[in-house]
Every structure is written in C-alpha cells, then in structure tokens.
C-alpha cells in the first residue's frame, strides 16, 4: 500500500472519521481484515488499535481527504457568504439613500447594523438558553452545509461525513462553537468589506449625509448621535456635535439648499461617525466573538479523543482484536501410550464356587451400605474411602477370602479416574469374575465408556440392584 499524503490527524478528525466509518458500517460490515491486522500490529492499546482500524478504513474510503478538501473549500465558502452579507447590508443602505447623493445617515446606520444586531441577539440568547446543545447560528450551519454539499470534487461519503461531523461536535457540545466561529468569521469579513466600500465611497464621492423625520425632534437625533458616537469617539472617531446634527436635519424638507449642505467639516464628521459605528458595533464584537468561539472550539477539540469503550460496536471490535492474539500454547503435549503399567500379580487360586466379595470404593458417606437386597451372603463385605492403607488391607483380605466373584461398587456421579483404574487392575487377579456397579443416579454411560477406553473388557457393568442380583445369580448357572 502506498502511503497517502496523510492529512492532519487530530483528535477531532479521528473522531469524525471513526464516526463516519461506523455509520457506513451500519449498512453492512466493511472488509476490514487487513486494517484490523495492521492496527493490531502497529498499536499497543486496544483503544488505539480500534481508532487505527477506523482511520485506515476511513483512508480507504477517502474520508480524511474529504475533510481536508472541506478545509480548503471552507474558506472560499465563507468568503462568498461574507460578500453576500456585505452586499445585502450595502444594498439595504443603498435602498435608503436619498435622491442623488444624499444619504439618510440614521437609516444607513440601521440597515448596516440592524440585521447583524438582531442575529447577534439571537445568538446570545440561544447560547444562554441552550448552552452547548444548540446547533449554532443558521449562517454557520449554512456555511458548513454548503462546504459539504458543493459538488467540487465531492466524495461519495460527503453527506455521511457531514452527519458525523455534526454528531461528534454535538456530542461534545462543540457544534455551536464551530458554527458560531464560522458565522462570526463571515460577519467580520462582511464588515471589513462594508467598511472598505464605505471608505471608498466617502473618499471619492461627495455625499450629503442627512437625517429626516416626521415625528421625532432634533433633540432625539442629537442624543442618538451622541450616544452611538461615544464609543467610536473613545477610539478617536470624530462625532458630529449638536450643531452639526441640527444643521443637516430634515434637509430635503428645508426650503433653502444652502443650510442643508452644512459645512464640509460636519459632513466629514458624519461620514466618520457612520464608519466608526460600523467598525465598533459591527466589526469589533464579531471579531471578539470569533476569537472566543475559535478558542472554545479548539479547547474542546483538544479534550476530544478518548474512545467510548462502553459501546456494543466497540465491544465487538475488542473481541475481534482479542481473537488475533496468539492461541493457547501446548507446553507439555500429550504422549500416546503412556499407559500405567501396574505389575500383574499372578492369579490367585480360584476361590470356592459361588463365593462373592462386595467392595464399595470411594462411595459418598450417605450411600446405604451394605446395599439392601444384594450380597447378604458375601464372604467379604468391605467399604473403603480409598486411602493407600485401606487398599492394601482390602487386598490382603481378598487374598485370604478368595472369592469367585467380585462386585466393585463405585459412586456413579463421580468421574472415573486413573486412581480407580489402578485399583481395578489390582483387584483383577483376586477374582475370576469381576463386575463394576456404579451406584446412584446417572453416569452409567460414562463408566461404560471408561471401561472400554481403559481396556477392561473382562469387567461386566451392572447398573441397578436388580442387575447386580442377576449378575451374582448367573455364577450359579
């Protein structure tokens, strides 16, 4: 595989790519064997391995490249929207231009800053009311949507990636800050454009800035200009004084044109006041909020990254990664034919015909002994827990009693083991007929299997009291 020019891999891009891969996989699993193996080999912790797998799959699908494309495209989209916003503002301002070169200064103020002020108020309100859950201003969302949707070299997974981006950011309560940053950025740019247009206009055209009103008094406008001009005034913007306001008021309605024109100084003051207001009430807050949004977004994006492990999708991947671990290793293999070789004692002389020994071996304490209804006439009736001394004692007594038949009762529910096998082998020389009786519920089949696998072909298996009685009786025939 050739190494692609790796687009920056930040916690945010990783999270978005992982989310998008997951969305794509919800339609059906991707062929991830190679990615899983590679992630498994190159990363150490499970969380990193899962992230790496997702990133590798995302790379195959071109998701990081798509994100990088957005980053390039995003600036253009923002600029385009900013021009549109600026044109809208200026257009509105133009709509309130008077006849010819006369500008209604107050109406221009409102149309340049009104929309911006209203949207800013909405933004602040939503920020306070919904905190981080808010998706952000529509302008920012529009920019995001346009960036993802513009058909310029758009990848097939762009819509999914957009969903992922919004989902990831919303989960982290960052979407509002991203769209906010976009929106504030666009507005800032728009105000720069507006200011440039205003400066150009005022620099090379002789405008007549006026105000007019039917019901408001000149004092209102004086006050208005004074209040709005206070902040720009602090920054050095000239503010028209009361006389200047008075001098241009209701200019069109005035009968003589001379007074309305006022002097050139006051006109310059008016122009600076308008530009100062746009800069201070438009550009400045947007720039500050842009900085705030960017800072909050970046801080939040840095906190991102820890993979949520308590997730069914992640748990499945964890198990698949676990399955890649080396399988259990045999360190001490089974060796065939390691059968126990118990020394075979020579067969004892046959005992009296019909004589019976009944031995209970490793029976649980609550088992009835002797078993009712069987072997009342046994020459040897013994029950042992299985210790070495008991075994030897039983052998000695068997050698003495020399029974013709030997019935060995064991606990059916217990597992047959090689200790039992050894005991059976030791018993074999002591009787010509030998039977095994698993007492109690269940397990008889297991004992039968065991007799076969251990090669005890000479042993009979009795499964019930009735069976046992029959087996004992059969000796008499």
């Amino acid at each position: 595989m050739t190494a692609q020019p790796a687009p920056d891999r930040t916690p945010l891009t990783t999270a978005v790519v992982l989310d998008a891969v997951r969305r794509i996989e919800s339609d059906g699993p991707l062929d991830d064997q190679a990615a899983l193996q590679q992630a498994f080999r190159t990363r150490s912790t499970r969380a990193e391995q899962i992230a790496e797998r997702g990133w590798l799959l995302g790379q195959r699908l071109g998701l990081p490249a798509e994100l990088a494309r957005w980053r390039g495209l995003g600036g253009g989209v923002a600029a385009l929207l900013a021009v549109a916003m600026a044109l809208a503002g200026l257009g509105m301002a133009r709509a309130v231009l008077g006849e010819g070169r006369s500008i209604n200064a107050i109406a221009a103020f409102v149309s340049l800053l009104g929309l911006h002020a209203a949207m800013l108020a909405v933004w602040l309100l939503a920020l306070l009311l919904f905190q981080g859950r808010w998706a952000g201003p529509w302008l920012g969302r529009l920019a995001l949507w346009l960036t993802a949707r513009l058909p310029l070299e758009r990848g097939p997974h762009a819509p999914t990636l957009l969903q992922s981006l919004t989902a990831v950011l919303q989960r982290q309560r960052l979407l509002g800050w991203l769209t906010g940053a976009l929106s504030h950025g666009i507005w800032s740019l728009a105000f720069v454009i507006m200011l440039a247009a205003l400066a150009f206009g005022f620099a090379f055209h002789a405008y007549r800035l006026t105000w007019e009103s039917t019901i408001l008094s000149a004092a209102f406008f004086q006050r208005f200009v004074q209040v709005t001009g206070a902040l720009p005034g602090l920054l050095g913007f000239p503010v028209p004084d009361a006389a200047a306001v008075q001098s241009v008021g209701n200019a069109v309605a005035a009968d003589t044109g001379v007074r309305a024109w006022g002097d050139a100084t006051s006109q310059r003051q008016w122009a600076w006041w308008l530009m100062g207001c746009v800069a201070v009430y438009g550009l400045l807050p947007r720039l500050l909020l842009l900085a705030l949004s960017v800072q909050r977004f970046k801080a939040g994006a840095r906190r991102l990254g820890a993979l949520e492990m308590a997730d069914p999708y992640v748990q499945r991947l964890l198990q698949r990664l676990d399955a890649l671990e080396p399988p259990p290793q045999v360190i001490d293999p089974e060796r065939p034919a390691g059968g126990a070789d118990v020394p075979r004692a020579p067969h004892a002389a046959p005992g009296a015909p019909g004589s019976l020994a009944l031995i209970g071996f490793e029976l649980p304490p609550e088992a009835a002994w002797p078993p009712p209804g069987v072997a009342a006439d046994a020459v040897l009736l013994e029950r042992i827990a299985g210790s070495a001394r008991e075994r030897q004692a039983v052998m000695a007594r068997l050698a003495e009693a020399r029974p013709a038949a030997l019935l060995l009762a064991v606990h059916a529910a217990s597992s047959p083991d090689r200790g039992t096998a050894r005991f059976v082998r030791e018993l074999q020389p002591h009787a010509s007929r030998l039977a095994l009786w698993p007492m109690g519920e269940g397990g008889a089949a297991r004992w039968r299997q065991w007799l076969e696998s251990e090669g005890f072909t000479a042993l009979a298996l009795v499964e019930s009291t009735q069976d046992a009685a029959n087996w004992i009786a059969s000796a008499h025939d």
Binding site: P312, I331, D332, R335, S387, A388, S415, R418
Partner: protein, 464 residues
C-alpha cells in the same frame, strides 16, 4: 513492563479446570469441556490479556487422578525435603511412565508457575484421593489458592471441604461457581491471590481494577444495546389505509407483520447482547437459558402479561383500548394513533421538526390508520432484555434462576425507562432497519444514552 503472573490451574479430573479458564479469560472456545473423564491430557497456556498485554498466564493441566498411588511413591523417594522429592520424581523414570499425567501437573507447578489454583468440586465427598492431591501440591512449595466450585449446587459439601482445607494448612480459599460465578467473585479471586503473593500485590490490584472497568463497560454496552432496541420499537409506526383496516383478514395480517417486526428487533438485541458478552448464539453453556429459546418473544404480546404490565404502569386494564379504539386480542399491545402517541408527537415536534405531526394530521384526514406499540410491550421488552443481560453477565445456568416473566417479576422501576422512551414515539425515522441510518441521529443517540443510564440504574437485581 512487569512479567505476567503465571498461575497453574490444577485439580481432580472434571472439577472444572477448563471451565474456570474459560470464565476467567472470557474465551468460550478454549479447550474442550465435557463430562468425559480426563478431557485435558496436556498442559497448555492461555493468557488473560488486559488491553492487549498479557496480565496473567494460566496453565491448564490434566487432572491429578492417581494421587493416592503417587503420594505413596513420593514417600518412597529418598530426599531431604519434600520439594526435593518432587524434583527427584520429575527427574525419575516414573514421571514418564505410570505417573506421566501427574508429572505434567507437578512440572507445570514447580517449573513454570508462581502459584496454583486448585479447583475443587464441592459436591464430591472429601475422599483420601483429594487429601492426597492437596498434600502433593503442597509439597511443590508454591502458594495454592483453593477454588471451591459448584458451591451453589444442591449436593454441595462446603463445610466438609472448609474443614479439609484447614487440615491441609490451606487457609485462603475462594468460592467460585465457574459456570455461574457470583457477581464480583472474579475480582475477589485476584484480590485474595494477593494475600498469597504479597510481592505481586500491586500487579494484582491493577488486574482487579482493569477487570472492574471492563465489566462496567460491558454492562453499559449491554444497556445501550437494550436502549437502542427499545427506541426502535417505541419509534415503530406502520400506516394502513382505512379500507384495508376495515377488512379483518388484512388487518390481522398487518398486525401479525407488525408483531413480527417487533420480534425481529428483539432478536437483534439478543444477538447483540450475546456479542457484547462474548458468547456465540450456539454456546453449550447457554443452551438451557429460556431467554434464548425465542419463546419469550411471544410473551411480548401475551394479553395476560400485558394487562399486568399495564397495571404496573398505572394504565389499569385499558390496554389496547386507547381513545375509542376497539380492543381485541389480535391488537394486544398495539394501539392505533392513541392519545399518548399524539402527545409524544407534539412533544417531539419541538426537537424534531413539525413534519411528524403534519404527517400524522394528514393521515388522520386521509383515514390512514397508524399502528404503534403500547407502553406495556416496551415494559415487557425492557424487562426481558435486562434479565437476559443480567443472566449473561453472570453466565448463569438456567436451572439457578429460571426466568418466567410473571406479574411479580416485572421490575416496577422500569416504568422510568418506558417514560424516558416518550420522545422516540414522535420519530418513526429513528427505527433502525435496512439501509436506514436512524441510529446516527444525534437526538436519538442522546436519548439512547439517557435510556441506557436508566436501564443501568435498574441493572442490579437487588435494587428492585
């Protein structure tokens, strides 16, 4: 990096050594488990990995079956100390002849293990062969942790075993049902091991912490599986034109298809839960769980159970009779545009836009009936899924707590979960299905987290 802890798992044949390892390593396919005697005849290592790194290396050993004779034989060997005798035995000829299998156990313990866990089937009487086993193992001079298995079985002889362990000088022990371990007993197992291996205390504490975290993550993931399915079912909405609804046959077919869809969601949840707990659907240890038999899915529409569940939710006997609609058996658990869903739609409109509400009004005007699931079905489903998740977390055997959903057993605390599902009713698009990306919606994910948290609060059965 610290060396992994090496633990030999020893014990009599069929005491449950391999089962213990399956449980401890969460690998359902490790080794061979059967009740045939002596299934494991070789020594084998299996690793417990935490975040990819080996934390514990277990050694599975064959059964120590011929202990009485071996102890006798060891006693005949001439050596100064008991560990010396064991080493002499391992060097000697019998280690590859009569006692080949036993030699594997002792070799694993003396040469490649830091400690041993001896698995004891407490249903067995304390026979001399078991005492001999304990004695031989103690000769290896390694710490031994007795793991008492089948402690919850009917025939357990726990007190006798406690006494026997004391007599053998083994004072630490842990009760651990390998098939149905107590909650947290796995962590207790490692915690107690630390008393036997003081030098490894820190390492063991780290393992305990990691296991606790993993268990927590699995449980939360299980809750999310259940939550997502509950949202699917709550969001389900199927429209049927009025004239088709009037035709009884078609109506019944429609209702049946709807119920089948609910069951399909339930089955998907079961598969996902099995996957979360690393089980395969055909696992032998799960075969007896009634939750997996598929029968319970029919319970979801059992009118009797629904009535009881409805009472739990304070709905009285009004199930299926929402707002002037006919209640009959075929409609059990489903409702036609009842007031609750309209209310939920209105509620959902604020966050999800007005389209669902508009479509609903449009359907009303056109006489299209919409079928949705009623709350009692959600309650039953939540209860079933939670029971299943609990059983899987415990790896429970069906025989221990057989699950039958009756009115007493529906957890009343779950109505909180059902109430939390309200917003899903206004979002038919949240139902997951073929080629639908319902699951990706941010609001749905937020609701899924909320519902999962509510389920998590009801997870501990003791809280009920």
């Amino acid at each position: 990096m610290t060396e992994p802890l090496r633990i030999a798992i020893v014990g009599h044949t069929n005491a449950g050594k391999t089962s213990l390892l399956r449980t401890l390593t969460r690998k359902v396919d490790f080794g061979e488990v059967s009740d045939r005697p002596g299934t494991t005849r070789h020594a084998e290592t299996i690793d417990l990995r935490i975040d990819g790194a080996v934390a514990v290396r277990f050694i599975d050993t064959p059964g120590l079956e011929d202990s009485v004779a071996l102890l006798d034989y060891l006693n005949t060997l001439a050596a100064d100390t008991r560990p010396e005798r064991v080493r002499a035995f391992l060097r000697g000829p019998e280690a590859s002849r009569s006692f080949e299998q036993e030699a594997k156990v002792l070799r694993a313990l003396t040469e490649s293990a830091d400690a041993a866990m001896i698995v004891i089937d407490t249903r067995e009487p304390v026979l001399p062969k078991y005492r001999a086993e304990l004695e031989i193992l103690s000769w290896c001079a390694k710490p031994i942790m007795p793991v008492l298995n089948f402690v919850r079985s009917v025939g357990t002889r726990l007190p006798e075993w406690h006494q026997a362990l004391l007599e053998s000088g083994l004072h630490a022990r842990v009760e651990f049902d390998v098939v149905a371990p107590f909650n947290g007993s796995e962590r207790q197992l490692y915690g107690d091991l630390a008393t036997l291996l003081p030098a490894r205390r820190q390492q063991l504490a780290g393992i305990v912490d990691a296991l606790t975290l993993q268990a927590r993550e699995r449980r939360l993931a299980a809750c999310r599986v259940a939550a997502s399915t509950l949202i699917d079912v709550a969001a389900m909405r199927r429209a049927l034109p009025a004239e088709e609804f009037a035709d009884e046959l078609r109506q019944q077919a429609f209702v049946r298809a709807f119920q089948d869809d609910v069951r399909r969601h339930a089955r998907r949840a079961v598969d996902d839960l099995l996957a979360v707990f690393a089980f395969r659907p055909d696992d032998a240890e799960l075969a007896e769980m009634p939750q997996l038999g598929g029968r319970w899915e029919d319970d979801l529409f059992n009118p009797e159970l629904l009535k009881e569940a409805g009472k739990r939710l304070g709905l009285g006997a009004a199930i299926g009779a929402g707002l002037g609609m006919v209640a009959d058996v075929a409609m059990a658990g489903l409702s036609l545009g009842a007031a609750t869903t309209l209310g939920a739609t209105l509620g959902g409109a604020a966050s999800g836009g007005w389209r669902p509400l508009w479509r609903k009004l449009e359907n009303r005007l056109n006489g299209v009936q919409e079928l949705t699931v009623e709350d009692p079905v959600l309650l039953l489903l939540a209860d079933h899924l939670l029971d299943l998740a609990r059983a899987l977390e415990q790896r429970g055997h069906a025989a221990l707590h057989k699950l039958r959903v009756t009115d007493e057993q529906v957890d009343p605390g779950l109505d909180e979960v059902v109430r939390a599902l309200g917003p899903a009713r206004g979002h038919p698009d949240w139902e997951r299905g073929d080629r639908r990306r319902g699951a990706g919606d941010a609001d749905r994910q937020a609701l899924e987290s909320d519902v999962a948290r509510a389920l998590d609060r009801r997870f501990e059965p003791a809280a009920a």
